[in-house]
Symmetry: C2
Subunit: 598 residues, 2 copies
């Protein structure tokens, strides 16, 4: 292509882009603009780039010790609260754990619930939710509140009244499908995934029309090219930087196993408006018994970048080929710029469940760095930057009927859903993590729709001697350097928030809400919340005053024993024994807690 | 009897008393002494006299505006919390709503639950609890925590370990019996009653041996003399000041109706150590349809004074003979001295559900005063001080198959369980009340064990135009004067606490925790709690610092629609419609909230 032709094509592309933009200007551009306003918190992770950083600085390292509880509100539910409120103007919205109550609060009048939405749900759904009946929050766009419910519905509610604008069914709980993720609105589409990786569910990402709720596209994680929306010639394999070719998923599976192939999409979504790409990760391949599914099992445990308008994938980078440890790749992708070998590159940083912090060029999925962020990681020695593949420790490879001991991290991951934060001022990532290992015994399992399709017995335990199961730390994803770390007794399962005040906020599984000096890791303030914290603090301004809000309420996989009322041994998914003592420290119960200075 | 004989008898009585005392010195005398220490809160109502007043004054009218939340803890349950914590030394204990979790917290280490007791319960019990699955707290004595469970068990737990010392069955949920009250320990006995007045349960008060859990005595509220432990010649009828005579209960019932005669004992108990009398009230007669039970229906709706060692009644005063409005008499009896016609008299003040504030001589049950404490009361014009009986308004007398309109107060009472406070400095009572009326249509009902035995359809509504259903006020029980009053949108269902700091603490049904100036009724501070408040604040000192603690968590009869998830009309016991809008203001969820100054 000569230069003139290129310019011509560019012009056409730009022109087309403008045309498309105009039709969804209301929802999308205003949303992005709103997310630049630090007084509001308009998207689940704060903004499209998912950095979870607030530019507010009224509360800072000098005064945070004087923080106090401004007001509180029960969620009306007992189980784990993994989400966060949104603040749109003077309104706050949040969603509880199942049965997924949604509340609208006018911040001028916190004593009154403007509206409450209590969805009628399929009562079967909670029985197939693998890891507590959590929810990770709602989205806002164009005067609508978008929510997902455990029984796989996507609702658009009128933000003013709570009335249902539309309601789409995205899955089938009878087949083990559930929804726990926060949706993300891009342009005129509501992006949402599906949970159920422990039930042989074949994951997909779907886009619903923001106005009508009509399904616009659906992209499976595994399967034929036309179902995964991979263009054999154009979609790039991040590891090889070559087009993926025909049947890139199918040829990595034996027989029809891909039909139960997992790759669910229950994590967080981020978006680059310039590249017009949405980023998300896919979960473990089905089953957990790797012997039943030879091959790389693409595109499970993969970060995928798609065009949000068409669903077509620009690239995919698989982190854990032939995952044999339940290392879902669903953790958030944080979009920042990084200085790589002297150049500024638009990158994506992803703290994976497998314990490596992946730094990718987000234009093409090229692997730039992959540092262990948990010192205990032993399933792989390193990630080969040339091949993009892990260099395994054969002793930690699991297989049917062998009890492989002391694999780090455990299936729950060195990090799970808890979204990390990035402070543009320090250029560091602040990551709440698990510090845990496991024994893993795979076994053959037969599929039956709606029944667990796991095929492994696990036992999880702390990664080190001493009662430490969680670490919060400041991390440089380019150099792999850990600046400081706080050790906690239980998994740090609440996503940190950083602020221009230099204060980081997070919560512990045993119920302490903390303010930490971003520079030193020193705890400057802590408050004993009603329950353990697995939600993610946000910050906003109301009437000129900065607030920090967090949903408290222990549960999730990290506290599944407590959530399910299990008291003995290592029932469930192997995580019960790990936190057996958690009930000595905290209690179920969902509460929104809002903090401010005097 | 001449003077010498009198002295002799007195000496014998005193001597006997000393002998008895020595055998229960440990539990009883130390408990009374402990209750004099304002740093602790050792009995449900603070002390035997049930005044709910704290002598602490660190928090006072000058500084209470700077109050803040010191720490919080979920109860682990969603339903109504009608109780309060105890503070014994450095330990705090509290009990949740059903399933009646009991927690022990070391105040030196609030992040850790020292022990938790989760009783195994009859799953049938919640279905026969008329008015939410509440609990009103636990008792302490002699190194033991005494609790009642909804399924009618009384447990003694080792206060250090939570291990069960003994467990007594006090009733049978299959017959509609439940327990919601806080027990009271007197001498070596644990006093506890029974709930279930809407199931034809015949109420009783029982005494269990503190050491062994063995039933020592049981006194029914209605029935033969030997079952109600009334001595025909010695037990005084408060109204007439004469001995009650033979069959004082039986002769006020027709046929065997007394066997379903109600008079349950689910309220608060108080005790006068000098007179050695325990005071409590009995509930409504069964059924709510008065036409089915002609007569006074003694000793329902009665304050009874008994010897706690033998159970024998010293006197009984019936407030609402032939109750036709569900005016249970179970509200607390507050023991103070009053200046009556120039003399100081040991009195008992009782704010009854029927809307009158009864002032009795607590030595003999003689009626001294009876003032309306709610301006709307209309079922009776007054209480005749000579006869001790109400002078009824015949237009408000209910009967089968007639819908009697606009009776005040409603069945929920002008005051219900929410215990009042008395400040010895101001000599005033501080009373949180309901301000509500009803239509009442009785109908014939047939008894079947374990099924509702109500026989009335009710509709409740606010007593005045405007959205007012509750009043908090300061009241002189001798003169009947109301010094000030606060009107609230919903029933004030949380018992106030007064303090030597001149500050009153209480909570509203829609979730505001408030500090009020005792002199003026001015609100000096308020905090938006996680949920509506029907629990009763207490105060204590830890490490030299005053704290105020309250169990928040909406529910109870006042919020039965919200608690049971009823959204339509006037289901349940007629109270649903009254608070239909409560869900616009608050949410279910149990949380202990503890306040302090900086």
């Amino acid at each position: 292509m000569n230069r003139m032709k290129r310019l011509c094509c560019l012009a056409i592309a730009l022109g087309a882009s403008v045309v498309i933009s105009s039709s969804f200007a209301l929802a999308d551009e205003s949303l992005e603009k709103m997310s630049d306003d630090p007084d509001q918190w308009v998207m689940p992770l704060g903004g499209y780039h998912a950095i979870r950083h607030s530019k507010l600085d009224q509360i800072n390292t000098n005064n945070v010790s004087k923080l106090k509880v401004a007001w509180t509100m029960s969620t009306g539910t007992l189980r784990g609260q993994e989400g966060q409120p949104l603040v749109i103007g003077k309104m706050m919205y949040f969603e509880s754990s199942y049965p997924n109550y949604v509340y609208a609060i006018n911040l001028d009048d916190i004593g009154r619930i403007v509206w409450k939405f209590a969805p009628q749900q399929d009562k079967f759904a909670p029985s197939v939710a693998c890891c507590d009946v959590v929810n990770r929050g709602l989205a806002y766009a164009d005067g609508k509140i978008l929510i997902t419910t455990l029984d796989t519905h996507v609702y658009a509610l009128d933000a003013k009244t709570g009335q249902v604008v539309w309601n789409a069914q995205n899955g089938d709980p009878e087949q083990g499908q559930t929804m726990t993720m926060a949706p993300l609105v891009i342009h005129d589409k509501v992006i949402a995934g599906i949970s159920g990786g422990e039930y042989g569910v074949r994951g997909h990402l779907s886009a619903y029309d923001l106005k009508t709720g009509k399904l616009v596209w659906r992209a499976y994680s595994v399967g034929p090219d036309d179902e995964i929306l991979f263009n054999p010639e154009k979609t790039i394999d991040g590891a090889t930087q070559a087009p993926v070719g025909t049947n890139s998923s199918l040829k990595t599976w034996e027989g029809d196993q891909w039909k139960l192939g997992g790759g669910t999409t229950w994590g967080w979504y981020s978006y680059d408006p310039q590249l017009n790409l949405v980023y998300y990760g896919t979960g473990n391949p089905g089953t957990w018994n790797p012997t039943q599914r030879p091959g790389d099992n693409k595109w499970s445990t993969t970060i995928i970048a798609r065009n949000p308008d068409t669903g077509v994938a620009a690239w995919g980078y698989q982190m854990t080929p032939h995952d044999a440890w339940d290392y879902d790749g669903i953790n958030e992708s944080i979009l920042t710029d990084s200085r790589i070998d002297g150049s500024i590159v638009p990158t994506l940083t992803h703290f994976d469940r497998n314990g490596f912090a992946y730094l990718l060029d987000r234009r093409n999925g090229k692997l730039l760095r992959a540092h262990k962020f948990d010192p205990s990681v032993n399933w792989a020695k390193e990630i080969d930057l040339k091949t993009g593949r892990p260099i395994l420790d054969p002793a930690k490879m699991t297989q049917a009927d062998v009890n492989v001991k002391n694999i780090c991290p455990a299936a729950m991951g060195a990090k799970n859903h808890q979204p990390a934060s990035y402070d543009p001022r320090t250029k560091l990532f602040y990551v709440a993590t698990n510090h845990i290992c496991m024994d893993y015994q795979a076994f053959s399992v037969k599929y039956k729709g709606g029944f667990p399709y796991v095929g492994a017995l696990l036992n999880m335990f702390p990664a080190e001697h001493g009662d430490i199961r969680g670490r919060l730390f400041a991390f440089d994803s380019v150099t792999g350097e850990t600046k400081w770390a706080i050790n906690d007794m239980f998994q740090d399962y609440s996503g940190p928030l950083t602020t221009d005040g230099g204060v980081l906020f997070y919560g512990t599984l045993d119920g302490w809400f903390r303010a930490v000096d971003e520079m030193t890791g020193k705890i400057l303030y802590q408050f004993h919340a009603p329950s353990g914290i697995i939600g993610n603090p946000v910050s906003y301004v109301h009437d000129g005053k900065q607030y920090v809000a967090v949903l408290t309420g222990v549960g999730g996989w990290a506290a599944i024993g407590l959530a399910e009322g299990l008291t003995k041994g290592s029932e469930g998914l192997g995580a019960v024994g790990l936190t057996r003592s958690l009930g000595d420290f905290t209690n179920l119960g969902g509460t929104l807690v809002v903090f401010s200075l005097e």
